[in-house]
Every structure is written in C-alpha cells, then in structure tokens.
Amino acid sequence: MPSEHRLHPASLLFVLGGHLRNFLLPGLIFLVSAGSRGWDWQVWGMWLIVPFALASIVRYVSFRYRYEANEIVVKTGVLFRNERHVPYSRIQNLHAVQNLLHRALGVVEVRIETGSGNEAEAALKVLPVAAFEEMRRRVAIGRGLVGTAEGAHAAGVAESGEAGAGEEVAGEGLALSGAMPPRRTILALPLREVAVYGLLEGRGLVIVAAAIGALWEAGLSDAITDRLIGTVLTRKQMAQWLGGAFFGGEGLVIARLVMFVAAFGVLLALLRVVAGAWGLVRVYGFTLSRVGEDLRTEYGLITRVATTIPSHRVQTLTVREGPWHRLFGRAAIDVETAGGEGEGELRAHRVWLAPLVRRDEVDRLVVEAAPDADLRGADWRRPHPRAVGRHTRKSVAVAFVVALPTVVWLGWWSLAWLAVCVTVAVVHARAYVASLRYAVGQGAVGFRSGWLWRQTSVARVAKVQVVATDASPFDRRTGMARLRVDTAGASATGHRVDIPYLPEGVAHDLHAALARRAAATEFRW
C-alpha cells in the first residue's frame, strides 16, 4: 500500500481565512451601508460561519491523498467518506497558485484539472512546495507510463500517414525512461518586456470597471450620487444632462468638446499607468517552457501562478495585436485547450501562450505549441472583391440605426452626428475588409480579421469538429458564402475561424477539403 499524504497544517489557516472573507466582508459592507438601521438578520447570518468552519476542519483532518501506479487517489470525509480516483492520463493540468502569504509559509494551492466538468477534480489547499513538485513529477511519469499504449497507437497512426499525432510520440517516448523529461525554456520575459506589457494592455479599464461594479453591488453608488447630485438621476435624465452640457447652453461647443477630450486623455493616461503597474505585477517573470509533451507557464510577482498546457490539447491559437502592439512590434498569443473524455460539460480554457512576444517570434511559438499549426509558407488570401461593398452597406445601415434615435435629444444636430457615424462606418468597413485574410496549410486553417485590433486564429485540422458553410440571401445574390470551422472549447465571444465573404466556389472547395482532411485524422483530446 503506497503511503498516504496529508495537507500542510497551514491549510486550516487558509480555509478559515477564506470563510472569514466570504462572510465577514459582506457583513461589514452591510453594516456600513445599512448604517442606522442597525443589526438585522443578515448580521446574525454571519454565525453560519461556524458550521462551515467545522466542516472545513473535518475536511482538513480527514483529507488524504496517495499515488497509485496509474492514478492519484484523494480521500475525504469522516462520516460521509469519498474516495476519488483520478487517472494520471486524464490529468490535463496541475494549476498552482501562490500568493504572498503562501510564499511566506512555503506552501502552494493546487488544483488537479482533468478538463471535464466545471470544477476541478480535486483542490488541494494547501500543499508544501516540495509535495507539489513531487506531485508534478509523479503525474508526468504516470502519464508517460500510460502513454506507452497510446504511443504505440500513435506510431501506428503516424505510419499510416496521419499528421499531428506523429510529433507526440517523441514526448511520450521520453517519459518511458521513468525520469522527468528535461525542461527547456521557450520564452522568458525580461523585466523590460514586462514593463512594455503593462503599457500595452489596457486592463486598467477593467480595474476601474470592476471597482465601479463593486461599488454598485454594495449599493454605495446610490449613496455617492445622492450626495453629489442631490437626486438619483434616471439614465434618460443623465443623457439629457450630458447632451445639454455639450450642445445646449452658452459657450462654444467646440471648446467644451476639446476640454472633454483633454480630460478624457488625462484619464486614459492615468489608466495606462495603473494598468502598467498592474501588468507588471501580474506577468512579472513570465516563463514558458516545454517539459516533454507539456508546455508550462509560470508568472506573477506577488501571486505566482504555474499552469500546464498539454500541447496535444491545444485546439486553436489566437494571435492578438492591438494598435499599440503593432506600434511596438509586439503581439500576444492565446491558446484554447479543451479536454475531457466524458459526456458531461466540456471545460474550455483560454490561456496565455505568451502575454507579450516580439512579432518575429510569433511563428516560432505557434509552431512550438502546435507543430501542425505552421502557416508560415501558406498563402494568405483575400475574400471576394465585392466584400467591401457589402460590408460598407451593412455598416452604414447600422450607423443609421445608431444615429437616428438621437433625433429625440439632438434635433437638427443629429444630422451632424449621422454624418460622423456614416463616415466612421465607411472607414471601418473598408479597413475591416482590407484586413480579412485566410490561409490553408498542411495541418491547419487560419483566419485574420480586424484593423485596429487585429486577431489571427489558427485551428488545427486534427481538432476540427464540424465544418459549416452558410449563405444568407445577400451572400447568394453576390455569390458568396461564409465558412465556419468549429473546434472544441471555442469561447462564444473569442475570435475564431469564421471566414465571411468567401467566393462561393472557394468556400465549397475549402469546406470539402477541410471536412475530408478532418475525417482522415483521428480526434484525440
């Protein structure tokens, strides 16, 4: 019987701390915001923390895990016992987070993720750092041992001419020796790059939005606006007030607009500084390395995060370049991974391959993450020549829809607003269509769009699930079609391979070729 391991004693501290935060913080906010009304049932509700705390103590005391030949076994519970077996081969990621307190105590919070279901298979809160390293090593070896069968299978697949699975044989072969495969650093961001990242990513806005959201949640914003304005304005009144401030009353409209723009500029600059600091803290010391078949990322100044991307689970890659990125010749790369072999909900992850990378290094990283996603030699083609006309008409129609309701507040000024909207629509449509490109390579299909924020998505043929071609009435009138390539774990909002305005014939050929190529590959999670 292999020996059992327990959590680090500091676990109690963190678990209780978590409960305190969950219960006390809302309670405090309630006390502040409710003020004079005094104690209410919600405050008494804080006593609920006691059973929760007891439960977590029981959990800590009873928590055991051990390593078996093929799986890790996690046992919890005293009265209601639970024993969970997680095969190494299913483990997709050991996600580790270390905040400041964790680091001071030399512990780490670990989640074992298998890719199926919405929750992690097991959360180990918290382990000594040495135990985490041990777990990593065992999981890597365990996966390698399980890989022997798969490796042989993959070899057979490769022999019969399938691309994609072939590269993985090497990684699995390495693990056969039983030792940890060597670790090779692919990308390490120096401090200078981290600073650039902070400047380029506009996450300051997110922080401000989150702060406002939090205030709103706490019901404090009403109190603040009450104090400031005297009455709570409805949204419509607010709009009228803003509109009046600009366009009504005395003084030059232009002067006010300039003032407004200047103020906005200062605000943006401030946000950049905040974002810079925040970015620095977040991605400090970012490294991407390869261990056998896995890619590993580690980052963070105060809270260290370590996460694993099994490269065979990479479904699509997205290269993002905002206007600032291009000015500085940089890009960011995200990968979408999906996993799970059950029939339950699929867990999708969009994770950084690189938060910031020099433009000329993008291809190297993409190929490193997914060798078949190599589109370097591919021909990036444009959509149908008449796409510009169609997209322009569409955006102008949208501009009208956006601009016309302003008649209510602006009167004749809305004509000027309409002119602005239409101009923007035309410029945007032309630039957008000019930015559209698609490419088909050996083992992947790529799509690029966007002129200010340019995004390039590459879907691996071996991961393509469904190929669909749509033709709207407008498409049919102009002989065009839209090609969509569906992969596992694609987020609803993210950029994906969804190519509009293709010439109909090209779309159908591409559709047939992709569907057939996908059919010829075997899908492995």
């Binding site: 749509d470 709207s472 969509r484 569906d486 774990g489 694609a490 559709h511 569907a515 010829a520 590959t521």
Partner: protein, 212 residues
Amino acid sequence: MTDAHHAFDPPDNAEPALRSTEDHRDEALGAAAGRADTPPGASTGLAVVADGEFHQLDPRSVRVDRIVGWITAAIVAGVSLLVILIVLLTTRLPVWGPVPMVVAWMLLVGLFVWLAQRWPEISYRHTSYRVDGFGIEIRHGVVWRTIVSVPRSRVQHTDVSQGPLERSQGLGTLVVYTAGTSHARVGLAGLAYERALALRDYLVAGEGADAV
C-alpha cells in the same frame, strides 16, 4: 490499410461523387489527402448507407410538418381570436371598429395557413444529406442556406428520437453530437426510422473499428 480498402465496398457511384469535389487544395494538403480517398473502417454491411450520394428526407416528413403547421395555425388563430373578442367586449368602439381587427386576423391566419400548407414542401426541396466514408453532410435552409459536415471520426455519440407524430408516420430524428462548440449538436429530422437507425449505426461504428 489494405484491409480497410478491401472491407469498404463502394457502390459504383461513390467514387465519382468524391472525385467531383476533388480540388487542387488537396494536393497542397499533403499526403493524407491522397489516402483520404479510402474512407476508414467501414464494414460491408454498414457501407450501404454510405453511398456518397445526396438523399432527400422521407416524403412522409412533409405530412408531419404540415400537421405541426396546422396545429400551430389553429393555436394562433384561436388565441388571437380570443384576444380580439376580449378587446371588442371590453372597449367601446365605433360601428366599423371590428373591421380592421377582423381583416388583420384573417391576414394573420391566412399567413399561418399558407405557411402550414406550403412551407414543408419548400423546406423539403431544400433539405438533403449525404453520407460517405468521411462522414455526414447536411444541407438545409430555404432563405439562409447552410451546409454542415460532421466527419465520422468526430462523432461523440448519437441519438435517434421519435415524437408521437413522427412515430405515427414511421419517422425519426437523428442527432449527432460532436465535441464542437457552436455545432455541438447537429440534428436531421424527417428520416425514415429504419434509415435513421442505419445512419446511426454507420456513424457510430467509426470508433474502435477505426484503424486509420
């Protein structure tokens, strides 16, 4: 490989149908494309379904859709008539007041009746599917046309379901599940029940038998 080639016994029309969509990209797509002409792991009995030709749905599906359409039309007619009656009884209107309402009601019901009677046929003409060694391709849509291809190796599992109306006509609905996101579930309604079962057996047989 030779085994798979031997086992797959394509009807005469399968080969040209596949070739017709052959395209220069395939060469660019590499060696796998050449091999892709021999569809994987189809046993002789199952391959009958995979003839590589476009098929229409079962004609009985038009009848089922019509019945559904008529039921919908009846419900719409009844509910809107009720609303009109309530309005007429509770409000004071001039003598000609009911006329526009009745006209609007007749137009609405007429539209639904027309849709119920005609639409299933139109929709039927625009729906077809093709199954070959690579997988299933479904074409549908009258105004917005869609072609969906699900490679056989990507089928996670399948459902064949039957509602009461479908059962009375001996029809069934095939639903193919993939690991995709926007197309995680691809359905094909209005198949003869036996046909739906045969398609399911063929599409699911890919697993295990699949020795690409």
